[in-house]
Symmetry: C7
Subunit: 96 residues, 7 copies
């Protein structure tokens, strides 16, 4: 099976299904679910090239659970699976 290696400041994300429980644990019906903006990092690139020729270090790493701007990035499909390719600037935070 093929795997995807993002370049420079690109990051490959697998969207997470929105959690259908509220804080208090009540299960919501499907229609009340929010559009998911969370994902799991599958792979990160080598980093953006700075003006001094070096690459910026990433703050996110493989397996991080991240929150990203909705509508950011490009949807791709490989071997029937859907992925999202973002730039690090589209990542807002890491959920731990």
């Amino acid at each position: 099976m093929a795997s995807i290696r993002p370049i420079n400041d690109k990051i490959v994300i697998k969207r997470l299904e929105a959690d259908n429980t509220t804080k208090g644990g009540i299960v919501l019906p499907d229609s009340a679910k929010e559009k998911p903006k969370e994902g799991r990092v599958l792979a990160v690139g080598a980093g953006r090239v700075l003006d001094n020729g070096e690459r910026a270090a990433f703050q996110v790493k493989k397996d991080d659970r991240v929150i990203f701007s909705s509508y950011a990035g490009t949807e791709i499909k490989l071997d029937g699976e859907e992925y999202l390719i973002l730039e690090e600037n589209d990542i807002l935070a890491i959920v731990t």
Copy 2:
């Protein structure tokens, strides 16, 4: 319970309810309240990467009460709580 760790120049904010008392202490009814533009800093990132490869230091820190541009940032919801993720440039001032 999950916690949120913002990256780079991102900042996680919890909006403060607009104070419903005027300078002189008179309590205003709900309909006269202004849209709140204040919040409490919950977490700050590691700082924006500069062209020399270092990271810019933040001026705001955890627990600061801050004023920010209205409509700036991205609203997120985690464990049923609403947060706002801003960039430091959206923060105008610290209230002390």
Copy 3:
């Protein structure tokens, strides 16, 4: 009472009432007053972060009477008082 500490290149301004006397000292009625574009500097930030990691020095300081671009900045209200938060680039000149 709360006080406001602007960050980075932000500046807190208190608008000055437009002077309702002309050069020759004639008092104009209220309807002839111009929109005020002057203010008093209440506080300045620590300065914009340059690409070399240092902060640019401000040319304006607390108590300066300044002229600024009309419509620039964000209006805020704290303890019932109105303030304007500008960036230094919105300041045109200091009146001495």
Copy 4:
């Protein structure tokens, strides 16, 4: 026969036909095929000139199978064959 040598940060791509099998191996009819966003790298330029006068290294190299932003780049035709000329920033990931 003529060959093409891209300059600076340009990359010459030969589009790959979209794979008409799904993950499970079922062959889809032609009308169900997706617009291909994959290609094979034929040649890369010498790299973008940085502000320090050096050239940024490429992460993709000849023969890499790459995923790129749809609609990016310029279509050219040489000796009856169609090619796509992209910039490295249009490349999202390498498929390995």
Copy 5:
């Protein structure tokens, strides 16, 4: 009387009345005058802050007669007199 001290790359200009004589010395009626695009420099700021932290030197100085882009800058009024505040980039040339 108040005086104006521009900051950074700002310049205070007093517009010059358009000269109502042609090259050959013929006086034109008022309606044929062109919109004046010339002025006298009253004061210059300390210069724009460069990325290395220093300030760019100005090429114009107090009392220079300058040509500037029409519609550039901000009109201000102080003590009943009108002035124009420009940035150095709006100045095209010095007339000597």
Copy 6:
């Protein structure tokens, strides 16, 4: 006869007629010809000035046969001949 010397990152191009044979050598009628996007480099400038004060080296040189973005550049006419003046960034590749 006058000659043209481009400055900085400018390049003077003489458009090439589109080749009216297909890969297999069949001659197409005039109406089926594509808009030519190829040209011959007549002259290159001294190079774009970088932030360190030096000039970026060109990758194209006199007599190169190049492919460029359609609609890029400025058409000029000198001594009755038509030329195209491009910037190096408009050049996609060199055909060898």
Copy 7:
């Protein structure tokens, strides 16, 4: 008589009348003349300030006959004569 000294990267140009002879020397009537895009350099500024504080050297000099982008620059009139003030980036080539 007044003379014009351009600042920074500005250049003062005197438009040249379009040459009303074709390559072969045939004189065209006035209505067939092209809009002139050529001029003679009267004066150049001191050069654009680079990020290292130095000024970029000009490639054009006084008396050069130059080709420039049509519609670029600002038309001025001094002592009844019309001039064009351009930036060096508007100059495409020098005709020699």
